[in-house]
Symmetry: C2
Subunit: 325 residues, 2 copies
């Protein structure tokens, strides 16, 4: 991502994001050659760095101490990357962001250990904040993340799940780490209780919206800029919000059910299911729910005095709703 995009997304803290990059880069400096090769691969694809951006933004509401905030930002990004490494093993995914996954280049066994190493390094990194409270929040966030992933995986190819459980699951899988970024940043900034609480709600709500939009993009996104084919979730048996709404509304003869239960012609059944969902109103309805979460995020910070940081946080909500990849 370019410096201009960084500036647009992270305004007042954009220039400090390079410190997070440097710290992430330093984690590749290991003696063990096979580990170095794998870390180089895993850390090569750069995402939008939303989580570290949120850490710095939240921290800028209080004492803006980069010696503490940068390690937390890097730790959370590392944890996020490690979880993607393991998710790709779990899902047997072969590409992400248009590049081959670690498990496609190395093998599953080594990739499991690579993820473990990155988790451990992330845990070590978070202790550099000097805060046991923040370290504890970080461990709890990882417990929620893996619970959410586990629930998703255990519920694959099950058409009997409901929206409530979906929201619980993405709350763990995605929103917990967003909340950890904002709550942790505000805690390290020695913000008052009300601000810390607001940051937790803001991060959690933004994370919920982010994941819902992600799940909508799996139906109507741009394959090239996403670096993966549409319909990937459904193909793996993961029924996300649009699919759940569609099942709720058309409980009888339903193309999603037909795909999930299909023993053959699975490609054709998948195509039918994707088309049916894309041509219905459920994608818009899902985006409405995402919009509600962004509204909650904005309400949580409405009491804060006007500032570049507050403006940037509100803009991030708009960005999350409008992104196409």
């Amino acid at each position: 991502m370019t410096q201009v995009q960084m500036k647009t997304l992270y305004g007042p803290v954009a220039e400090d994001m390079i410190l997070v990059e440097d710290l992430l880069e330093s984690t590749k400096n290991v003696d063990l050659a096979p580990l170095k090769r794998m870390l180089d691969h895993a850390l090569e694809a750069r995402g939008k760095r939303m989580r570290p951006g949120l850490v710095l933004l939240a921290g800028s509401l209080g004492d803006y101490n980069l010696n503490k905030l940068v390690p937390l930002g890097a730790a959370i990004e590392l944890l996020h990357t490690a979880s993607l490494v393991h998710d790709d093993v779990v899902d047997g995914a072969t590409s992400r962001r248009g590049r081959p996954t670690a498990n496609a280049v190395f093998d599953n066994a080594l990739t499991v250990l690579l993820g473990d190493y990155m988790f451990a390094n992330a845990a070590e990194m978070v202790t550099r904040t000097g805060s046991l409270a923040v370290t504890r929040l970080f461990a709890l966030a990882l417990m929620k993340m893996t619970s959410g992933e586990l629930d998703q995986d255990a519920a694959a190819f099950d058409v009997g799940k409901d929206v409530q459980q979906y929201l619980w699951r993405i709350g763990g899988k995605t929103a917990a780490l967003f909340a950890n970024a904002t709550e942790g940043g505000a805690t390290l900034g020695n913000c008052d209780e009300r601000t810390i609480e607001a940051m937790r709600t803001y991060g959690y709500s933004l994370g919920m919206a982010f994941q819902i939009v992600d799940d909508v993009l799996d139906f109507n996104g741009d394959e090239e800029s996403m670096g993966k084919p549409v319909g990937s979730d459904l193909l793996e048996g993961t029924i996300t919000l649009p699919g759940l709404l569609f099942l709720e509304r058309y409980p009888q003869d339903n193309p999603i059910k037909r795909f999930i239960l299909a023993k053959r012609d699975r490609d054709a059944r998948l195509r039918e299911a994707l088309d049916a969902v894309a041509n219905s109103e459920v994608l818009d309805d899902s985006l409405d729910i995402a919009r509600d979460y962004v509204k909650r995020a904005n309400e949580a910070i409405s009491f804060l005095p006007e500032s570049d940081t507050k403006r940037c946080m509100i803009d991030l909500g708009e960005y999350v709703l409008s992104r196409r990849s």
Copy 2:
């Protein structure tokens, strides 16, 4: 393990080990049904609990505060168990301690996430010690463990490795967590620097001896009490100390090389290699090296005044050398 065995191994702290069991047991209390099933399975097989035993023993050299020592003991045992869960996925192992592995009962994907959850829970548990220093040591130990495992896995079926690299690898894979137990226990007990340093050396050396004996037992152990067939390591391409010594001494025509390179008749070649090693002097030589490590462990604690704890630590060294499973 019976109460009498506990008493023999952990003397002055044996009765407090039940508190570690209770805390480990409490980690199974989760709402998510598939996670609960997997945790029940993973935590059912109880080992010798050496690592928590070492935490309490080391802590008893200073302020014996069970509110801190018990969480560290449980965290380290949980981390150890999580690493076994992932190792079994990595190795494709189907039984351990005579029971089916988690990956054999559930599937690899869910088992990877189970291990992740347990790592996260262990990290959360260690923060309950209230010590950021101990939490940091814990994260560093996990980095060493995964590096050691990774090196072992990357070096599988490579006959060009040497004893030095083997010692580095088991230092990470096993001894780092033993050292973490003793150093962490002494740190939580507010021991003086000399005692903390002695505990680090004692734990590390004991761990090295423990792993070397483990690797010897893979050649001559009792299959029934180990719960797995002899030769498991070599079958996976892992060449441990006895094999490395054997390759060093007989560099030309060598049955280990023949097995590693064998394209067919692998069972017969494995049998030949195991017999050749078992009938040579390298198993005794390996045990001599283990004995040297126990000697180093005892030297490290020789300056401590006589006590039940010191006596128990010395006995643990003897136990490690004499165990048959």
